[in-house]
Symmetry: C2
Subunit: 163 residues, 2 copies
């Protein structure tokens, strides 16, 4: 396993050259395979009873936007309201947040992070950053920033309406 050689880009028109065809050259396939690796390392880092990626993501939003509603959080996470219930149950069970009543609209329950939750998130994000630094150590900071920008370029058009 040599230290990785980045393929140089190649101009392409209507048809791709043979060497650039096939599964291994599809962004989607590579996205999936790369995500499986990152997710596995994230889970190993967080440990047996650690937060799953989606629970961690939800907590991040709650810490960042205290008193966010579940509907709003679901929209931001790109999932259905119904699917969020188990995630919030998980976080509430860990004592990381509480469902609090909102004066003026008794339908909604604002999600308020606890002190324990804020501290747990601070630790988790530090662990996550360390996990990525370790896993992606073959990449330069430049390359990581470039990757981030390119992934956002995929996300932005598709999520524009949902946000």
């Amino acid at each position: 396993m040599p230290p990785q050689s980045r393929k140089k880009p190649q101009p392409q028109g209507d048809e791709l050259p043979m060497a650039e065809r096939g599964l291994e050259n599809l962004i989607g396939y590579n996205l999936k395979r790369a995500y499986v690796i990152v997710r596995g390392d994230f889970r190993a880092t967080m440990g047996e009873d650690g937060m799953s990626p989606r629970v961690f993501s939800a907590l991040s939003f709650v810490v960042d936007m205290p008193d966010i509603t579940q509907s709003e959080l679901a929209r931001r996470l790109g999932i259905e309201r119904s699917g969020l219930v188990a995630i919030v149950d998980d976080l509430e069970g860990r004592g990381y947040l509480r469902r609090t009543a909102v004066p003026g609209d008794r339908r909604v329950q604002a999600l308020r992070p606890t002190q324990v939750g804020v501290e747990a998130f601070a630790e988790a994000i530090a662990q996550a950053e360390a996990h990525e630094a370790r896993l992606l150590q073959v990449m330069s900071e430049d390359e990581k920033a470039q990757l981030l920008a390119l992934l956002r370029a995929i996300r932005e058009p598709g999520e524009a309406d949902a946000i």
Copy 2:
């Protein structure tokens, strides 16, 4: 929604600057969100009765490596042998491949693509390439090649032992 501004890389030491912290700056989170979008567009492209991403991937290997065994295919796809059974059932049900006996070792059944399967794959890969060209049209060819190289840089260390 402006035409997308790629963030310039920034040097970082032990601590990240505030603007570079949080969920939105994690590669893993962005990988997941980007993949969800690409997968959704892939499925919409393939249509109601089209191949799922994993079935398409499996067919790609079978067409590329006729008479591959199920164990070998599972290893290459990074999944368990047991999980491959339903995928091969799907492809066999579509008439895209056949399980064929191998003289010399009666345990294994080689996967041989049919003519229909080869043609279906040719059409599917063309559709997949068109779907990515359409979905990723905001990115230059250079940027797409760069993204591919970076995703492979994540995959290679983690998959090295499995291949």
